[in-house]
């Protein structure tokens, strides 16, 4: 059965192909069956394979389906590699992906491009599965780019609106910047180590490069460039909030199951390389920390329900980076999994809210919706509790592990820990700000709408609620991947620290309660000073990063393109043409058409030649 691992990406790929080839001529029922069913099949296969793999007790399993290309020493194959890490990833992707697909069959029912939607979604999942199962970096790059492409297609799914197209292109091009860095990283790794097979490459790096060597630093930095692009971390995080332009299930897919986790996966997969470059690894931690704090501030200022969730994703991925940076790999992967559960839950819940309220996105136009939208309310409540790391929800366990990992680190570890805890405080504020504003208080508009929640939409939500609550109890089999023979250390964390980690998110929730629920404090007072206003504006704009990039990159590029539309080099050749024309014009003056003028010239010439002949 393990040999059939290639079926995993093949099912969604077949789904994609059949939907594309029928080009929208299938009835919606059939599309739903193909679209969601292909992912369901994948999940089924993944589950069986996972059971067999764990039962076999092996550390890893490799199978090469065919050699992709073989040029000299460079011979990446279509080869799949299964170990604890890719096992967890493939289960998350196919499992959560299936739930999202199932939800979408109801959510998108009224859309005329139903078939196109599912074809892209299937391709998305296929690419992501390819990414996590790839045995070499080139195949991983295939999935990597495929994911980027599908994000482009899906974010710009409603293509009539140019703003969506803009967001889609922004996502693709921003991540492509990272991808290019990663591609250069691949060139470097191949040139230096002679292989791009991940395990061989890591092994070669370990034996050939001393810790802290320049090559290791360069290679890991280049890979990090790719990772920050896909995972929307500083400095390439700006695309993710705009990516909300697509239909909501896509946001769930991008944020929970696929795409943004790719960067985390890449670093976890190549962590040996990062350990060879401790400075870069520390950089990963700092990037994570700064991103999570910045995104936390921004999330507190947003009005759009999806943008709040988007920034919360950026922030949570920041935690994963923090964990990777401090060496708590399994904690990061664990958080990746729990985050997939509760973020999918939140986004799908948001989808229900948005669909029920006729595409209303502004949370301040909602209010008091807990009776009107019971399932969405339950989803948000549970999802936000998990997001805010409320004790004994799934998010609590995973976030705790990451922070403990940071605390255990020498040197800057305590600062990273403190930052992470501060971030958890913000998380409490912004996640419950959303819950309080949308579901409590007075209903401001949209009084009459009923909740849209058929069977296909409610089931995934309920399953995800369970997972978000109890997902923290799952133990993931990644020890063999990250512990290279070393003993698993026991945590020695004082009760005080534990207490802080439990209390701080609750404090955040409390602050949120005081501001938005009991109105003990008023936002208006807080916002009255001009400093607060400008700060709010600054955070609201995502710390001005968009404007900065517009100024630094976009405008110069547009300017250069505009001034040189007609190709400067062509004017050189036009110059030659003009010169020839001018010369021709001058000489052509002699051509008067007057016969006697010609005769005169002939005689003048003859006389001149005769004179010359006589004189010389």
């Amino acid at each position: 059965m393990l040999d059939l691992i290639w079926l995993l990406p093949t099912f969604p790929l077949l789904g994609f192909l059949s939907l594309v080839l029928t080009s929208g001529n299938l009835p919606k029922k059939a599309v739903a069956v193909i679209g969601a069913g292909s992912i369901g099949m994948s999940f089924l296969v993944a589950a069986i394979i996972a059971a067999q793999f764990i039962a076999s007790g092996d550390d890893y399993f490799v199978i090469e389906v065919w050699t992709w290309m073989s040029v000299g020493e460079f011979s990446p194959g279509f080869a799949f590699y299964l170990d604890g890490l890719s096992l967890v990833m493939m289960l998350i992707i196919s499992g959560v992906g299936f739930l999202i697909h199932l939800y979408s069959t109801g959510f998108m029912l009224d859309d005329p491009s139903y078939s196109r939607f599912f074809s892209y979604m299937n391709l998305f999942v296929a690419s992501m599965l390819m990414l996590v199962l790839a045995d070499n970096l080139v195949l991983l790059y295939l999935g990597w780019e495929g994911v980027g492409l599908c994000s482009y297609l899906l974010i710009g799914f409603w293509y009539e609106n140019p703003a969506n197209g803009y967001a889609a292109r922004k996502a693709f091009i921003t991540t492509r910047v990272g991808d290019t860095s990663m591609a250069i990283g691949l060139f470097l790794l191949f040139t230096q180590l002679g292989t791009l097979n991940i395990q061989d490459m890591l092994h070669a790096a370990e034996t050939q490069w001393p810790v802290g060597s320049g090559l290791a630093v360069a290679a890991s930095l280049l890979l990090l460039g790719g990772a920050v692009g896909k995972s929307a971390q500083l400095p390439l995080q700006t695309w993710l909030p705009d990516a909300m332009a697509g239909p909501t299930p896509i946001s769930a897919l991008i944020h929970a199951a696929t795409m943004v986790t790719a960067g985390v996966y890449l670093i976890a997969r190549t962590h040996i390389l990062f350990e060879l470059a401790p400075n870069v690894q520390l950089l990963v931690a700092w990037i994570g920390l700064i991103t999570l704090l910045m995104a936390g501030f921004t999330a507190m200022t947003q009005h759009d329900i999806k943008r709040i969730l988007a920034y919360s994703t950026v922030s949570q991925i920041g935690y994963m980076f923090l964990g990777l940076g401090v060496g708590a790999y399994s904690a990061s992967v664990f958080h990746l999994m729990t985050h997939a559960f509760f973020k999918a839950l939140l986004f799908l819940g948001a989808g229900t809210v948005i669909l029920s309220l006729h595409h209303e996105h502004d949370i301040f136009k909602m209010g008091g919706k807990r009776k009107q939208l019971p399932i969405a309310f339950a989803s948000f409540l549970i999802g936000s509790l998990a997001l805010a790391a409320f004790p004994f929800t799934s998010g609590y366990f995973s976030k705790d592990e990451i922070l403990i990992g940071a605390l255990e680190m020498d040197g800057p570890g305590i600062w990273l820990w403190a930052g992470g805890v501060l971030g958890a405080f913000f998380t409490g504020i912004y996640s419950f700000r959303l819950v309080f504003v949308v579901f409590f208080g007075e209903s401001k508009a949209h009084h009459d709408e009923k909740e849209v929640a058929g069977f296909s939409m409610a089931t995934p939500l309920i399953i995800l609620m369970v997972l978000a609550l109890f997902g923290g109890l799952i133990s993931i089999p990644v020890d063999s991947v990250f512990n290279h023979g070393g003993e698993h250390e026991e945590h020695h964390i004082s009760a005080l620290m534990h207490g802080i980690m439990i209390v701080v998110p609750l404090l955040g929730i409390g602050v949120s309660y005081l501001f938005y629920m009991s109105k003990t404090f008023s936002i208006e007072n807080l916002m009255s000073s001009s400093l607060a206003k400008s700060l709010h504006k600054f955070w609201f704009s995502g710390w001005g990063m968009d404007a900065l990039y517009q100024f630094l990159f976009v405008n110069p590029f547009l300017f250069l393109a505009r001034i040189n539309k007609n190709d400067l080099i062509d004017s050189f050749y036009s110059g030659i043409v003009a010169l020839t024309r001018t010369a021709n014009g001058l000489v052509a003056r002699a051509q008067t058409g007057q016969l006697r003028w010609y005769v005169m010239t002939v005689i003048g010439g003859v006389v001149l030649i005769v004179c010359l002949g006589v004189l010389l």
Binding site: T67, E160, F572, Y573
Partner: protein, 496 residues
């Protein structure tokens, strides 16, 4: 013998197509398609003989007094490119099927003669013969642009002609000098490729001779700064002309570099390589940027062609196995993707009588199949893994990285720019809101069944190249290994 038959079939078919117009105006296209299919069948027989290095060799005396012979042969690289020519020839006839109604006999005559010239260029192993075919493919192309082109056709045709003719003359001078050096060193005149390979040249003279070849090939490729004929030629040419131009004619330049410019003057080429690679990188980046600024869709695709062919030149002058294989794969994949894009753009122009993208938008709802096709080929062109262009560009960059890190890093930025302009086309033409006030949309119909067949076959080709490139890599491997071994002593010296 096969090759001579192949070329004569194309020549004769061209004449027949011309003559058949007198019988019925609809005959020429049928004759041309038949000729082309026969040619493809002949080409496929080349595949069976892949045992020896040079297949279908034919060496007959032509002008023995000057050592000129009629020497044709094909190796793996030539065979690949001939097959590409045959495939795109069929596609081009398909593109012209409805579009060319005026003097169609003469049109198909020109088309087939151009292709005959191209096949000759890919197989000639006598430099004089090579030059002869080089000219043969040029002149019919000139007529195709000048007679069946669009609003500014005379300017474009003349520009194309002058650029290629002037640089072709430089190449002729180099060929004559090379033959002369052969005469001095060996005592008899010869234009044969294998004889001329033995001519030992060095110093400034060999650099000048190499530059003569380089000028001709870099113009055809085209590379900065010789590229500016291409946007005009492409935007004015009829669709079939664009398909042949982008798909096949540009590749003759790259082929010339691989087959002649570098092996004949390895030493000078190695000295020149940094300059050539820099030009390649400049082509990639500069033309990508200019492409983005265009509003004429065919002009835009033309500039992207220049940008992509930059990867080919980068790969060739990196001169190692990965880079060369990458260059060859890029040639093949770009041949398909650019030809397909030109065909679709031409189809669009045929339907709405404008190429100006500022008038377009929101076509997805009207022509979903065409939109998907353009999306597919744009995605292929921007280097999506799983499609042919990725394999080519990735290998070319991988090889180039071993030759020059800074230039490769700079070239890699081309990947970002490629996504910028490709997605811009999609946005401008197919996304956004549909408005038809600017043009007559009564003929805006989706791809016909015939067009679907062509588009699907090209898609299939790109997926094949992307998923299992080995079938192509294996064919060109022997050629590339041979070239690398032949120049090994010099390249290794240059590196030390």
């Amino acid at each position: 013998m096969i090759l001579a038959v192949l070329i004569s079939v194309l020549f004769v078919g061209g004449v027949l197509a011309w003559l058949s117009e007198n019988l019925d105006p609809s005959f020429p296209k049928v004759v041309a398609l038949t000729t082309m299919l026969i040619s493809v069948a002949i080409m496929l027989t080349l595949l069976g003989e892949s045992d020896s290095e040079w297949v279908a060799s034919l060496n007959a005396q032509w002008i023995p007094r000057f050592g000129i012979s009629f020497h044709l042969a094909a190796d793996g690289l030539s065979t690949l490119l001939i097959l590409l020519t045959g495939f795109l020839g069929v596609i081009a006839i398909g593109a012209a099927w409805d579009e060319i109604n005026d003097r169609s006999g003469f049109f198909y005559f020109n088309l087939l003669w151009t292709l005959a010239g191209v096949v000759g260029v890919f197989t000639a192993l006598d430099l004089f013969l090579f030059f002869f075919f080089w000219e043969v493919m040029l002149i019919p192309m000139y007529f195709m642009i000048a007679i069946w082109g669009h609003e500014n056709k005379n300017y474009a045709a003349m520009k194309f002609f002058i650029f290629t003719q002037v640089t072709g003359m430089l190449m002729l001078i180099s060929i004559l000098m090379l033959a002369y050096f052969h005469y001095i060193q060996f005592g008899w005149l010869s234009f044969d490729y294998f004889d001329l390979l033995n001519v030992s040249t060095s110093g400034t003279v060999s650099m000048w001779m190499m530059l003569g070849f380089f000028a001709a090939f870099a113009t055809k490729l085209p590379s900065m700064p010789f590229h500016s004929w291409l946007p005009d030629a492409h935007s004015q040419a009829p669709t079939a002309g664009s398909v042949i131009l982008a798909g096949v004619l540009l590749k003759t330049g790259a082929y010339g570099l691989i087959r002649f410019a570098v092996p004949l003057f390895p030493e000078a080429s190695m000295q020149f390589a940094p300059v050539a690679m820099t030009l390649a990188v400049l082509s990639i980046l500069y033309c990508a940027k200019v492409a983005f600024a265009q509003t004429d869709i065919k002009r835009l695709i033309a500039y992207t062609s220049v940008s992509h062919m930059g990867f080919v030149m980068l790969g060739i002058y990196a001169w190692n196995e990965q880079a060369l294989q990458g260059a060859v794969m890029t040639m093949l994949a770009h041949g398909l993707s650019a030809a397909a894009l030109f065909m679709l753009a031409g189809g669009l122009q045929h339907r709405i009588h404008t190429r100006d993208m500022t008038h377009m938008g929101g076509f997805w709802a009207k022509v979903p199949r065409m939109s998907f096709a353009v999306l597919f080929f744009s995605i292929a062109a921007l280097g999506m893994p799983g499609l042919g262009n990725f394999v080519g560009e990735f290998l070319a960059l991988l090889g180039a990285f071993q030759a020059s890190i800074p230039l490769t890093v700079a070239a890699a930025f081309g990947l970002i720019f490629a996504s910028v302009y490709s997605l811009w086309v999609i946005q401008k033409v197919f996304h956004g809101e549909y408005r038809n006030s600017d043009f007559d949309d009564s003929h805006l119909s989706d791809l016909s069944r015939r067009e679907m067949v062509y588009v699907a076959s090209m898609m299939f080709g790109l997926v094949w190249m992307g998923m299992y490139p080995q079938s192509f890599l294996d064919m060109s491997e022997a050629t590339i290994q041979g070239l690398l071994t032949a120049t090994e002593s010099i390249t290794s010296m240059a590196q030390n």
